[in-house]
Symmetry: C2
Subunit: 188 residues, 2 copies
């Protein structure tokens, strides 16, 4: 009939918030959109929309959720999918480290200009020294203007090959955009 509030300490409260975020995240990745307030009610096991409203407001004040000007939820940290950890030699992530892990989306990390980006498969081994082996796939951004030192895809004598772009003067219009500084490609 009435609500029986179960008080909890700080860590329990954090666990509660985290599990709620996980629930919303699961809904988002399953349905391709953010849940409505009544749907959040089902996720949180709240039978009242006003309770959902308060809970969402709390999550919003913590910066986990953001609303539209129309009140609709927009995915912010929800959309990000991969946790980022340290180096391999530094040791593998412990559960404690996972808590502090930052998350990001591979799409957002690797793609700058969505319309001008392509995926190509490499068949030659001309760039094997740079870690690009035959069979790898490369992400190409043809919207960027190539800088000297970049790896570019250029037409040489009617054939397309991957080369370093070293000096100016060549009429090359397509480059391989480096998502990380000094690491000019992504092979997989």
């Amino acid at each position: 009939m009435f609500a029986y509030t179960i008080l909890m300490n700080k860590s329990q409260e954090d666990d509660k918030l985290k599990s709620r975020i996980v629930g919303i995240s699961a809904f988002f990745h399953q349905n391709g959109r953010m849940p409505s307030f009544s749907e959040i009610g089902e996720i949180f096991h709240l039978s009242s929309k006003s309770s959902v409203y308060k809970a969402v407001g709390k999550l919003e004040s913590k910066g986990v959720l953001i609303k539209d000007k129309k009140g609709k939820l927009i995915p912010v940290s929800i959309k990000s999918t991969v946790k980022v950890l340290g180096t391999v030699e530094a040791g593998f992530p412990s559960p404690a480290e996972e808590e502090l892990a930052d998350t990001l989306s591979l799409d957002d990390l690797l793609i700058k200009n969505r319309e001008a980006t392509f995926l190509l498969k490499v068949s030659g081994d001309s760039m094997s020294e740079a870690g690009i082996l035959p069979g790898d796939m490369v992400i190409v951004d043809k919207g960027e203007t190539p800088k000297s030192g970049d790896i570019v895809i250029a037409e040489v004598d009617g054939e397309w090959t991957m080369k370093y772009l070293k000096v100016r003067g060549e009429n090359v219009t397509l480059i391989l955009v480096p998502p990380v500084k000094n690491e000019p490609t992504c092979s997989l």
Copy 2:
């Protein structure tokens, strides 16, 4: 006062549909959600929701859009971000090829188990033969059970290194999942 329909031939019709999909895609990537029917009306320059309903139904019959059981639009080809093309040697994509290009999301391509996937930076050069150079980032899926021949991240004498897993008998629990067959890693 009334609608003046401008009839158009086949290619013009395709252009119209494509521009509408582009409009919806732009809305999705800008707002993080699919537009409502009234918002689609603004995108399509339709002042009536029923016209939007018909237009959406047409797009739906072509498989470009899919609806919930609740009538809400879910992103399908909209979410995908990168066009996939042929090999480098096969020649660079012409505008005609771009039309036929398939699109996919890097997240969906590279990540199987979202909760168990991490991003690690490589500092050693133990796997340089496989194209994994120092400074590269690798995608690790610790939810998969390693197969022989996979590249795994294992603890050897208290240190974490990347090695090939060749035979059984080692107590390794974390592997590097190969998103493409015979290409067991992604470096960038």
